[in-house]
């Protein structure tokens, strides 16, 4: 297994190199560059644009350098000095911005993931075992509704409802006074008070998808002969279902669980923007839209590193979980 992992890590290098080059190029695919995008935005909002002052910044941002020059400056910074470059919009090192947004993003993603798995597993299990029962129909329909309703509709609807019904504003993860306060119980409670909104919204779609796939796989497995054989040995129904068919039905998840890692960082974009959550999602969206190339490039690079690691993780997990793959009989 170790040689397998070793080889895969070696292959990561060229992949990551290719990703970084392409990602950096694609970020500049939209017309113009950071400054021209900024000028267009300011003009649209009727703000005064002093072209001369902005021109002065061009040299500072290195926008006049050729593509490979910019890329080399960025990559060499990362590799030799762990300096991910400067964000033009915020005029601050990229590492600070990401470090600031990361903890909340991880808290949000992990909570959403846990809530999704805690809800989806029992329902998926139950609706597979009790197929075509009333509960199965209810679970699948609620699941589909969660899948069918566009996320941003729920987000906006919920935000407006909270306002009109309770006069509460659910935007952001903290109420204003706690925003920059040091961490204490009050801040934690306040966070919990706000966290349930995005978790509910992001959770619905995830749960629905999970229920569907789990139910489909479980139905395949429940009919297999080893289930009847185990029952013939006198095993309890619930224990039997969990130990055998569920274990096999978990397989597809394992092959995609590796990608939970990058999702932890990139986080959700649209709902997070609507709710103004200080997570990496909106940070990346704004960076991509304004071509803040070093910030956008760095986030994408980190996400792709995690994707590659995630893929490796999935393969290792798949092998560990499924002996048929591990022993790789030919």
């Amino acid at each position: 297994m170790l040689t397998f992992i070793g080889r895969r890590v070696l292959y990561m290098i060229p992949t990551l190199f290719a990703i970084s080059v392409v990602a950096f190029a694609i970020i500049q695919a939209p017309p113009g560059d950071y400054l021209s995008t900024l000028v267009a935005k300011l003009q649209a909002e009727g703000e005064q644009v002093s072209r001369d002052e902005l021109q002065a910044l061009e040299a500072r941002y290195g926008l006049d350098e050729p593509f490979h020059g910019q890329y080399w400056k960025w990559i060499s910074g990362i590799m030799f000095r762990a300096d991910f470059g400067q964000s033009f919009q915020w005029n601050r090192p990229v590492t600070d911005l990401i470090a600031e947004a990361l903890p909340l993003t991880i808290v949000l993603s992990v909570t959403t993931l846990l809530v999704t798995w805690l809800i989806a597993f029992p329902i998926g299990l139950y609706s597979a075992v009790r197929q075509y029962s009333v509960a199965d129909y209810v679970a699948t329909t609620v699941g589909f509704l969660g899948l069918a309703i566009p996320n941003f509709m729920i987000a906006l609807g919920l935000m407006y409802f909270m306002h009109s019904a309770f006069g509460m504003s659910v935007t952001g993860l903290f109420s204003p006074e706690y925003r920059d306060a040091p961490w204490n119980l009050g801040k934690l409670l306040d966070l919990a008070g706000h966290l349930w909104v995005p978790v509910l919204i992001l959770g619905t779609a995830g749960t629905a998808g999970l229920i569907r796939v789990l139910r489909a796989n479980l139905l395949d497995e429940l009919k297999k002969p080893y289930v009847v054989a185990a029952r013939a040995r006198g095993m309890g129904e619930r224990r039997l279902v969990v130990k055998y068919p569920v274990r096999v039905a978990m397989n597809p998840f394992i092959s995609t669980v590796g990608w939970v890692l990058p999702a932890l960082i990139s986080g959700e974009v649209i709902v997070a923007s609507i709710l103004s959550l200080p997570t990496t999602g909106p940070l990346l969206l704004n960076a991509l839209r304004s071509q803040d190339m070093y910030l956008a490039g760095s986030i994408i690079l980190i996400v792709s590193v995690l994707t590659v690691i995630g893929t490796l993780l999935s393969d290792v997990l798949l092998a560990w979980l499924d002996p048929r793959v591990r022993l790789g009989y030919r």
């Binding site: 017309p31 003009q43 002052e53 040299a59 805690l118 706690y178 130990k243 923007s273």
Partner: protein, 656 residues
């Protein structure tokens, strides 16, 4: 029972508890947020804020007399004398810093008065202009101090001009404000409080230009702070810059003296503003500015301004959440992003409950929709068609403006061409209403006269090359102007009626600007500025600025003094000469006469097609927020809210 599922769930749940419990901090179990909102005192005759008097007693601050200049600037409150205290709750969308310098940094040498028709002294106590508009003498206020207590003298202006504006290492090209005929003005230091600018040629609009900038460079570069980063003053400027986290001294100066650079990230830069930053922009989701103890303005009773203790900007990502915050009364003053015609009903419903009122914003917009046919279009055939005046008149008559007003603008406004608005003294009845009658026959007549009589099978008129007249109008998406596309959709039908096939091309904001600047589009729609500020924003009457986008090749000719671009037709050249001459006349009357001639030519040439008069804008202000003007201007060159003296706003504790 050790089935896989239970173990994993137990681990995850356990992990969460550990994280929560593991958070260090002795006061962990306290729930107080730690930031105390300032308390407002009711002591009427205090001449400075209680916060400051406390610090004076503690010896941290010199007494008020030593902090104020000999002759502090007196600001007359709009309603009544204010009360010290309270926090102004404001908001920013994303990282745009422009809102900061429009709101807090409008402390230039001179500024506009509230009615935007006269220059008044500000940092400069008084100023004299020579008859031939080549020499400007400015007298500063003796004893005025930066926010760190250091004296503000003529040396700061000299350093800002000679070592920042003119030093091409720091600013590659000098701003047009300070040049005449390409030659930068010379600055003399007459004494501690007096400087004089001398231009090579006449530069009539020099002070108007400074007053129109949200934050002019001359009054925000404290010499004592920046000189150690300038090579000419400190040999080891690079070392100092590196300590401050910048690669080199040029990088430091370029970025920190630039309002779009890191100026707002460096709270320690001394300022002349009413409030100074406590933290850099982006250090979290909130930005708080506290009162400047050395602020050099007082109210008529000699009480030091500003009344409000601090200004807090909440950084938000999305208009919808900002609107909800305004509707809940959590924002004191808002005039951007949410004050649209579309949101008006929702805001007026919440008015009583959330406790806010509306105030008027006279818009400098020249029209609700300016339809721009690219007169220097790259495509020869289209250029010939667009330059045909009868064609443009025909298209104008074909538009049912009343219907657009009723449908898209909720019945607000009246049919109008692209012309000075009623409020401005350049208003010309004929120019504003010519060819606005909705008359399809007259339209067809003009189009026939234009020479495009025969049509193809589907009724589209054939152009000079025999092909049907078909072109695309670019419309910018994402620019927050959905009404443009709505109106344009109606115009598509009107023009099809008279045999012209126009299609809308919805394009992203940046691409829209690029296609405009590189002369790649057939035409575009925009609302356009210069309805009130006709003289300072002439480029919808005469093509002197590429961003107007209706004759970019002529603009290139004008900007390059004839080397590049294409020679514009005679009347347009005449307009350009008139405008250049105008810039040399110090006498306002003469300038107005010249501008009238420029506008008259624009009327006769009928370059652009307009739809209806600009909509009266509105802003939202909380009832507890006093001394706000009932109406003000919303224009590029009128840096509102800075121009309405925010230092005299105050928060009335009773009516919270």
């Amino acid at each position: 029972m050790d089935s896989v599922i239970d173990r994993r769930r137990f681990l995850a749940a356990g992990g969460l508890v550990a994280v929560a419990a593991g958070i260090p901090g002795c006061g962990f179990f306290s729930t107080d947020p730690g930031t105390d909102a300032g308390d407002s005192s009711l002591d009427e005759d205090a001449r400075e804020s209680p916060q400051l008097s406390e610090r004076v007693e503690k010896g941290e601050l010199p007494p008020l007399e030593q902090r104020l200049p000999a002759a502090p600037m007196v600001i007359h409150p709009v309603e009544r004398a204010g009360v010290y205290g309270g926090q102004w709750r404001n908001a920013l969308i994303g990282s745009s810093t422009t809102r900061l310098h429009y709101t807090l940094a409008y402390e230039n040498l001179v500024r506009w008065n509230l009615d935007w028709d006269e220059l008044v002294p500000n940092v400069a106590e008084s100023f004299e202009v020579s008859d031939d508009a080549t020499r400007y003498v400015l007298h500063l206020r003796a004893g005025m101090k930066w926010s760190d207590g250091e004296p503000f003298t003529a040396d700061d202006i000299v350093f800002a001009y000679n070592n920042i504006v003119l030093d091409e290492r720091v600013t590659p090209n000098v701003a047009r404000t300070f040049t005449s005929g390409g030659v930068p003005a010379e600055l003399e230091r007459l004494d501690d409080q007096t400087v004089a600018f001398t231009f090579a040629g006449p530069q009539a609009l020099f002070l108007e230009d400074i007053a129109s900038q949200p934050s002019n460079v001359l009054t925000r570069i404290p010499k004592h702070y920046f000189e150690r980063f300038h090579e000419d003053f400190n040999a080891d400027a690079d070392g100092a810059a590196k300590d401050a986290g910048f690669p080199g001294w040029i990088d430091f100066l370029t970025s920190s003296t630039n309002v779009s650079g890191t100026y707002w990230q460096q709270p320690d830069i001394p300022r002349l503003h009413a409030w100074v930053p406590t933290s850099g922009l982006g250090d979290g989701q909130r930005l708080v500015f506290e009162r400047n103890p050395y602020y050099w303005k007082t109210d008529p009773d000699g009480r030091q301004l500003p009344y409000v203790d601090s200004v807090a900007f909440d950084i938000v990502n999305d208009e919808a959440s900002l609107l909800l915050q305004v509707m809940q009364g959590d924002i004191d003053l808002m005039d951007r992003h949410v004050n649209t015609t579309e949101n008006r009903p929702v805001l007026s419903r919440e008015q009583e409950e959330a406790g806010f009122r509306f105030f008027g914003l006279v818009s400098d917009k020249i029209n609700t929709m300016t339809i721009i046919l690219n007169l220097t279009c790259a495509d020869e055939v289209k250029r010939e068609i667009f330059n045909n005046k009868d064609f443009r008149i025909g298209l104008s008559h074909a538009i049912n403006r009343e219907e657009i007003i009723a449908t898209v603008h909720a019945g607000q406004g009246v049919p109008r061409q692209v012309a000075p608005s009623e409020g401005s003294d350049f208003y010309d009845e004929q120019m504003a209403t010519q060819y606005t009658e909705y008359d399809v026959d007259l339209a067809n007549e003009h189009l026939d006269e234009a020479g495009y009589t025969d049509r193809d099978s589907s009724g589209i008129r054939l152009g000079p090359d025999g092909n049907p007249i078909r072109f695309q109008i670019d419309a910018s998406t994402g620019a927050g102007k959905p009404e443009l596309i709505d109106s344009l959709e109606l115009v598509v039908n009107y023009w099809r009626e008279v045999g012209v096939d126009m299609r809308i091309n919805p394009v992203d904001q940046t691409l829209f600007a690029e296609r405009r600047d590189n002369n790649q589009n057939d035409g575009m729609v925009w609302d356009g500025d210069g309805g009130v500020d006709v003289m300072m924003v002439p480029y919808y009457y005469v093509p002197t600025f590429t961003a107007a986008g209706w004759a970019t090749q002529w603009t290139a000719w004008y900007a390059s003094g004839g080397e590049s671009g294409e020679t514009p037709p005679e009347p347009t050249r005449r307009q350009m000469e008139l405008y250049d001459e105008l810039k040399t006349r110090t006498d306002l009357g003469e300038r107005v006469e010249l501008m009238r001639e420029v506008v008259a030519i624009a009327r006769d040439e009928f370059y652009l097609i307009g739809i209806s008069s600009a909509l009266p804008g509105y802003g939202v202000v909380h009832n507890r927020f006093r001394n706000m003007v009932g109406e003000t201007f919303f224009a590029t060159n009128f840096p509102y809210p800075g121009a309405t003296n925010p230092e005299q706003y105050f928060i009335d504790p009773e009516s919270t």
